[in-house]
């Protein structure tokens, strides 16, 4: 798939804390089949996220990725479903 060409289900991305400042927006709507594909698309779309929040290839660095408010994601191949919500926040929630 070419960069920027989106397939897969539509998911909602929400940014929090300084990740939101880096993204420059509060939310995004993205089509992606997996978390890895989603994060790669976010790097392309929101240049402020890379390299500190996400690496150029979308690998998470200083970020907490939560799926549907419940699952902390580390398996980037995790498939996404229509209507999923992906939350990106600073890893040090709390304090």
């Amino acid at each position: 798939m070419r960069a920027g060409q989106q397939r897969g289900p539509a998911v909602r991305v929400e940014y929090y804390g300084s990740v939101r400042l880096r993204a420059g927006v509060a939310t995004d709507e993205v089509r992606a089949a997996s978390v890895a594909e989603l994060l790669r698309e976010l790097v392309r779309r929101r240049r402020g996220l890379s390299p500190d929040v996400l690496a150029e290839d979308g690998t998470p660095r200083a970020v907490l990725v939560v799926l549907n408010e419940r699952h902390v994601v580390d398996d980037l191949s995790h498939p996404l479903m229509p209507g999923d919500r992906v939350l990106l926040a600073n890893p040090d929630v709390g304090g």
């Binding site: 200083a62 902390v72 398996d75 040090d92 709390g94 304090g95």
Partner: protein, 619 residues
Amino acid sequence: MWSCPIPVGDRAERSGCGGYHGRYLVVDLARAAVMVGRFEEATLRAVLGGVGLGTALLAAWSEPGLDPLAPDAPVVIAFSPLVGGPFTTSAKFAVVAKSPLTYRLCDGLCSSAFALAGKRTGFDAIVLRGTASEPALLVITDTEVRLEAAGPLWGLTTTVTEQAVRDRLGPRYEAMVIGPAGEHLVRFATVQHSGRHVGRGGLGAVLGAKRLKAIAVAGDARCRIADPEAAGRLARLLTARSLGPATEKYRLVGTTANLAVLNRLAAMPAYSFRSSQVAEADRLSAPSLRAGAYAERRSCAACTIGCEHRYRTPEGGAVRVEYESLFALGAACGIWDNAILRRALARCDELGLDTISTGVTLAFAMECTRRGWLDSGFRFGAADRLVDWIEEIAHRRGAAGELLADGVRQLARRIGPEAERLAPHVKGLELPGYDPRALPLMAVGLAVTPRGADHNRMTAYEADLARRGDRFLATEADVVRLVELERRAALLDSLIVCKFLRKALEPFYETTARMLAVTTGWPIDADELVAAAERIVGLRRWYNEREGWRPEEDDLPARFFEEPLQTATLGELCLSRAQFLRLRAAYYKAHGWADDGSLPPEWLDRYRIGEIVSRLRGR
């Protein structure tokens, strides 16, 4: 009132290792007497400084069972080996005493220039005993201890008092002070220095009971650093990291960033723990706060992070706003007007009130009123009354002062068993802004920490959010993270280094061991620091055991197991009692403690707890 010179032979001399003076000062306010005690190097190496050293001294210098507000009850101010050195965020001190709110250990931390000036008195710690005969200002330098009458300061607010002390003594003095809440023995009164507070557990009331309005320090005694070149190199590395991604949240937004994300995760308590996810929260989120009200960002002394985001108050001043304060005075009370909240926070700071306990206690009164258990005017959302209630609590006047100034536990006892089942506290300390029904590992953390419902001595929420997969399915295997977080916190609080630097210190034990080694000259390694951290964790628990701790204290209010939360995104959330008990048992086992959480003799022997305290007691 009186003054005592520090005997010439007891004045600062170079200790055997860097970072320490090797001495502590004991001041008896009633008897106008001072004494200088000496630390053995093995003691310092075992408990380090800050909360570790402070707890050991508190145990050594108090008889078991003392009332925290009794004349002989000691309060310890403990510095640390890194204070005054080159490391970022190390200008901190600990205040340790028995809490008048919990009757258990209370070890509070505070930042800034008081730590630097206090250590220049030539002492690694100061133990205060006795009670002044009238409101007093205690002045400690490297040559004398002086108690001055401070009648005109009594009744003044915190920042006015601190400025008055500086005006009286001169700019080289730094002061920690109490506000009217401490004078009135409010059981969640704070101690303030330079706009920062020793916030939790009511240590302001302990000073108030001693009639100490302020403690001022100054001096010229310096500690050497064992390897200044290596310390400088490491300090530059950590400073660079402190300006990178590891601290970005604190620098760019501050802890107010937590509110929106915890609300989204259904973990931010609202309406006295009846909800944990509310649409109104957006009105208190960091972007909403910033709109039109942002004033400036500040740092504590010797800090390169600069987490202190200040917002304008309606009166034209500025106030530091943190997540916990917004949660307690805002969400917990159902008050979403952020201008009113900024004013309320500023009043809490000026009066010397812990914002968490103030807000959670007010919110609990609102919940009891809603349920018909309390015939009072406390109503959720009553923004127009908030500041008045804060004034009443601080001065123990009016309905709020009469009912709420002793905290949630005492209020619940007055109302009856129904209220006690509900009251949001552990060991008497009001819960912070994390709903245990949404964070099962945090639930255990809140229950077991010696200070009571505490978010800061374990940072257990990190374990919930570090767990890969469904966070509600935490198992015994995940408890390892809790123990690790608690050890790291004990180390940071004893060295003392700001927790906001924690993610910039990896590899954690190797880096902190290096910081200590280059400062002291000790050949200390990561394994020794892990052992010291575990010792300090257990020492704090041992102090509580000595003061009457019972296993049933390591628990949460019944409501969290009985009343589910209804959330928009996650449905019904309830804390499983069976899961909680399994996780708590695993936590005790991971430490090597008994099944009921008590400390076995072999554990105490292994970490030499009795020996360390006895040696300090023997002086």
